[in-house]
């Protein structure tokens, strides 16, 4: 990956996670105490606060971590081109100038397979990667060989990142070997493209399952683990985030490999973005606060951040129509 925008070059090229042998003892030993995790999640916003210039800086950082997304049945090339234009210029130039910030872009643009060529073309030269949702997104219940083939097609079409969906049934039946094998096959099909494993946590039943599925996907070579498709009844939440990033931390401590994290769905307020960033900073550390290791899967978050940034610059509350739409 690392086709990141100019303002956010990572400190060093991260070694890619090639995975490891399936370690079932580790997987089965993973615990997640729901009440305690919820407690940590609910008290964190009261424990961490970012104000004034720092807040503006954090919000700008959040923008660089957004996977600007359109995953609708009525997507057209025109719609996708419009989104890509916004991805190149997520913040009004006068606001950036007032904040004394160089130009920046979002983290990636995320579309369905058929829109990949349009997006690739529209983003040419911007350094913004194109991500494609794949493997029978969102349910992941199409024939296995077609799901693998879908990945190959998207890579061929120029996608830099592939967001795959796991088979929830493997988690719900505790068939960890099957989940591992599936993820391995997806990763292999991705080749040089980076793979984000969507766990669809809203359908996994328990946080313990989330913890175990996270570990399996990392062991099978996921570059990112991602909460949701955005289509489940419950999408990204702070408790789920805590479980997944703690799994990432454990995996890093064990293997030395950094896996990225992407919460998706339901994050649409600037304030929420700050809480997510604080949670990442607290639990994983500053290294993860870069777009090569952290992304928001969001479509309307950007608009709220733009309004907050204008408020920061002018001191007056802003309006949505003052910012160019995507």
């Amino acid at each position: 990956m690392n086709k990141t925008a100019t303002t956010q070059l990572p400190l060093a090229v991260e070694r890619r996670n090639d995975g490891m042998a399936l370690d079932l003892d580790w997987v089965r030993g993973a615990q997640a105490n729901t009440s305690a995790i919820e407690r940590r999640a609910v008290t964190l916003p009261g424990r961490r606060s970012v104000k004034k210039d720092y807040q503006a800086a954090w919000l700008l950082k959040a923008i660089t971590c957004i996977d600007l997304t359109t995953l609708a049945g009525d997507d057209t090339p025109g719609r996708v081109r419009r989104l890509c234009a916004k991805a190149r210029h997520p913040v009004r130039s006068d606001l950036l100038a007032a904040l004394d910030m160089p130009p920046l872009t979002v983290g990636a643009v995320c579309v369905y397979h058929d829109m990949v060529p349009t997006a690739v073309q529209a983003l040419q030269g911007s350094g913004i990667p194109v991500a494609a949702v794949s493997t029978g997104f969102p349910a992941g219940l199409s024939p296995f060989h077609l799901r693998v083939e879908e990945i190959r097609e998207s890579v061929k079409a120029g996608a830099d990142e592939i967001d795959i969906v796991i088979s929830r049934r493997h988690v719900l039946t505790q068939n960890w070997q099957a989940l591992y094998d599936e993820m391995r096959a997806f990763r292999e099909a991705c080749g040089d493209a980076h793979v984000k494993a969507i766990l669809a946590t809203g359908e996994l039943g328990t946080l313990r399952n989330v913890a175990r599925a996270s570990l399996i996907c990392m062991m099978a070579g996921a570059d990112f683990i991602k909460t949701s498709t955005g289509k489940e009844p419950v999408n990204a939440t702070l408790p789920v985030t805590l479980v997944m990033i703690r799994a990432i931390r454990d995996y890093y401590q064990c293997t030395g490999l950094r896996v990225g994290y992407k919460p998706a769905g339901g994050i649409n307020k600037a304030k929420d973005a700050l809480v997510y960033l604080a949670m990442i900073k607290e639990e994983l550390g500053d290294r993860w606060l870069q777009p090569d290791l952290f992304r928001f899967g969001a479509s309307s978050l950007l608009g709220d951040i733009e309004r907050q940034l204008e408020h920061h610059v002018t001191g007056a509350y802003s309006a949505a129509w003052r910012h160019g739409m995507g």
Binding site: N33, T43, V50, L60
Partner: protein, 777 residues
């Protein structure tokens, strides 16, 4: 620094809460405060400084109370009390409700003032201290409302002297004042000299809430003022603070008849099993020992980790510690604020410096100015280390390992304290097995330091006695409506006639299920009212007390038997007593004269039936707490109870003391009626034939006055009761100071042994342990 630089570093930056309004409030008093007596603020007198420990700057001047101030406060409270009590539950509920509302309306002012004065992070005062204080007033507004219907036999104690610590100034005030006022008492409260400002703001609020003059009085000053309150004409002392001061108060109030509750220190275990969610357990420790700079009586300050995961757990913990932010308590992004005072800081430093065991790890950047101490972890300690036994009252976590659940219990209970305990495991069997075995008043499962007004807070052993909060906390602020009569000393009869029994009978002591001769080898003659020699009775000495207590401890399995089994045995005792009713009736008449023997035996059988009935029915509660989970209020036996049985009603009295105690699972060392001991020694045979396991009931005969001290000072006795007509209440209370055991003495007042007040006895025979179990998968 430019925004671009901030963008690159992603630091938090400062997030200060403004102190302006709080400082403005202080300014409104010209920075000088008097006391709050009889509804008005007195003029400032001789003052001392209230300092902000984070900056060492003086915030305000407070007045050191003199004897006349305390007198005025007590007089005012005394004068206001009858009217306040008579105003009725609903009228008091309205006032408490107004206080709760006003605390809410001025929430941020209270929070900022608390943080300025105490040094605790604004997050904690804002999100924990102040909301909990509000909740306490709401909850007890409800208790005031319900008192008339739910506690029809209880009345206010009168004037309560309340002395509170500096770690949770407003919250401790709420814990003290809310229940006292709800039950119709009036109060004289002394906040800690380091942290009096929110108490004064509260006084200000009282005027707005319509609290009648004299109902709440607040006097400020140091420990000398506390001593004056203890000595003053008050009906009760409620103290929260150090065990050392608690001891002094116990000693000072001994024999005075003043009611007393003590919430003292702790060294609470925090147990992590190998199947726990380790990351959550690490996070729990942040709330256990770095919350409020570790200045928490129930802080999880002793970490016990299962050996196999210890290294991994310590690594995670050290990594977490690196992320703790220490500094300006008014910053909204701070985890650990300032220690309350340089004196406390020195004390923490000295205790850590004196330790030469284990490995010390300290994290975080500590500001140069102000009273700050870094979060500290000391691993590799053993239970024998001072740091594992002594309270530090600072952000210092002391750690050791264990192998098995049994060993975790053993290490946990290897402490003079018994306030709280925390257990982390995903195994519900293990958690619910551990909770009853831990010597503590509170057990948290997979969570820590949760508090609520509905849940009684308080400990066992040297952590004090009494509960604050919940239904169980109300007994500390009420007394029975029954008017007690004075109890006259009852002397043994004298005589010079020959033996009454045709064959000599030897009445021995009953220890560990065996009849035993007294250690001293002395006996005393027992005469009837007309001078007949009824027999001889052993004179027990301190060694017999020791033996009886040892035997009682050996019978510890009694405490874990089922209520059903204990009921069976109590019924069996009644059955066997009934079979020999005539003989006992005759004996009672021979000893005491008169003809009440038959009635007394009948009442004793009734009493045995009553407590047999209760043995499996004195249920605990499930408190309604504002979390997804339960707080189980379990009634546990107190342990080993030493009891001086009444001199009057020699059989009924003994049975009425023994039966509730053993019904609840206690083991007892009973000292029989001194003038009329032979009913008790006859009763030994009833016990022997009733399947009572050896050691559950031990019976001594002898001088109450002589045995009071060895019994009450015995460190392995958990409670002492006295209904003796000898004047031993003072000695019992004073001797109990050593291990701060619970006492229940008559202060020379009689009790009607024919009255049915089983609940009073059952209450005394049990401790409430609250077990918090959040759930959710």
């Amino acid at each position: 620094m430019t925004i671009k630089e901030k963008f690159d570093t992603m630091d938090y930056g400062p997030a200060p809460e403004s102190a302006a309004e709080a400082l403005e409030w202080i300014k409104g008093f010209d920075g000088k405060f008097g006391h709050f007596i009889d509804g008005t603020f007195t003029k400032p007198g001789k003052t001392f400084a209230a300092k902000n420990p984070a900056t060492c700057e003086t915030l305000a001047k407070l007045t050191q109370a003199m004897a006349n101030d305390v007198d005025a406060a007590v007089t005012s409270a005394r004068k206001a009390q009858p009217k306040w009590e008579k105003s009725g539950g609903h009228a008091r509920a309205r006032v408490l409700y107004a206080l709760a509302r006003l605390l809410q309306k001025h929430a941020r002012l209270f929070a900022v003032l608390e943080t300025l004065d105490n040094g605790k992070p604004i997050r904690e005062s804002r999100d924990i201290d102040i909301p909990l204080a509000q909740r306490h007033f709401y909850y007890h507004a409800g208790m005031a409302q319900l008192m008339d219907t739910e506690l029809p036999d209880r009345q206010a104690l009168g004037v309560c002297g309340q002395i509170i610590p500096w770690n949770f100034p407003l919250l401790m005030l709420a814990w003290k004042i809310a229940p006292a006022l709800a039950m119709g008492n009036t109060v004289v409260l002394k906040p800690a000299e380091y942290t009096s400002l929110t108490a004064i703001l509260f006084a200000d609020i009282c005027r707005q809430a319509g609290v009648p003059k004299g109902v709440v009085n607040i006097v400020t000053g140091d420990g000398a003022v506390g001593e004056m309150i203890v000595q003053a004409d008050v009906d009760k002392i409620a103290f929260t603070g150090s065990t050392a001061v608690g001891r002094r108060i116990r000693e000072a109030t001994a024999g005075t008849g003043k009611a007393l509750t003590l919430e003292l220190g702790g060294k609470s275990p925090y147990i992590v099993f190998d199947d726990a969610d380790l990351d959550s357990a690490v996070e729990g420790l942040v709330d256990a020992i770095w919350f409020n700079q570790g200045e928490v009586c129930c802080a999880g300050s002793r970490l016990l980790v299962q050996e196999g995961i210890a290294d991994r757990f310590y690594d995670k913990l050290r990594a977490r510690m690196e992320n703790l932010r220490i500094g300006d308590p008014l910053d909204k992004c701070i985890d650990v604020g300032a220690v309350v005072d340089p004196v406390q800081l020195d004390s923490i430093r000295a205790k850590v410096a004196a330790n030469d065991e284990g490995e010390i790890f300290q994290a975080g950047q500590v500001p140069e100015k102000g009273c700050f101490y870094p979060p500290t972890l000391i691993t590799g300690l053993s239970p024998a280390s001072n740091l594992m036994q002594d309270e530090i009252f600072g952000p210092v976590l002391c750690a050791t390992t264990f192998r098995t659940p049994g060993e975790a219990v053993e290490i946990s209970n290897n402490s003079r304290y018994g306030l709280a305990a925390t257990v982390w495991t995903e195994n519900v069997n293990l958690a619910l097995d551990m909770a009853p075995k831990l010597k503590a008043g509170i057990v948290w499962v997979n969570v820590t330091n949760l508090f609520d007004a509905a849940v009684g807070f308080g400990g066992v052993r040297e952590s004090g006695f009494g509960r604050e909060g919940g239904w169980e906390g109300l007994s500390a602020y009420t007394k029975s409506k029954t008017k007690p009569k004075a109890l006259k000393p009852i002397a043994a009869f004298a005589g010079d006639e020959g033996p009454f029994d045709p064959i000599d009978r030897t009445a021995k002591l009953y220890i560990g299920g065996k009849q035993a001769r007294p250690d001293g080898g002395y006996s005393r003659r027992v005469w009837g009212p007309k001078g007949a020699l009824l027999g001889h009775v052993s004179i027990a000495n301190r060694k017999d007390v020791r033996n009886a207590v040892e035997a009682a401890h050996a019978a510890k399995s009694w405490s874990t038997t089922t209520g059903h089994l204990r009921a069976q045995i109590l019924y069996y005792i009644a059955e066997n007593l009934s079979a020999r009713a005539d003989e006992f009736a005759a004996r009672l008449n021979e000893m005491q004269g008169g003809k009440s023997g038959q009635d007394e035996v009948g009442q004793a059988i009734d009493s045995l039936f009553t407590y047999a009935a209760w043995a499996d029915k004195y249920d605990g509660q499930i408190h309604n707490v504002p979390i997804r989970g339960v707080a189980l209020a379990m009634k546990e036996p107190v342990g080993v109870i030493g009891a001086f049985c009444p001199d009057e009603a020699p059989l009924l009295g003994l049975v009425s003391v023994m039966a509730p105690a053993i019904a609840m699972g206690n083991r007892v060392a009973l000292v029989a009626s001194e003038p009329f001991p032979l009913a008790a020694t006859d009763f030994i045979q009833v016990l022997e034939t009733s399947d009572v396991p050896g050691g559950v009931v031990n019976i001594l005969t002898g001088s109450h006055a002589e045995l009071a001290e060895p019994m009450a000072s015995h460190m392995d006795v958990d409670a002492v009761w006295s209904f003796s007509s000898s004047d031993i209440s003072g000695v019992v209370e004073k001797s109990a100071t050593l291990n701060l055991k619970r006492t229940w003495v008559n202060h020379g007042m009689a009790r009607d042994w024919w009255a049915n007040d089983a609940r009073t006895f059952l209450d005394a025979a049990t401790e409430v342990k609250n077990i918090w179990v959040p759930y959710g998968e």
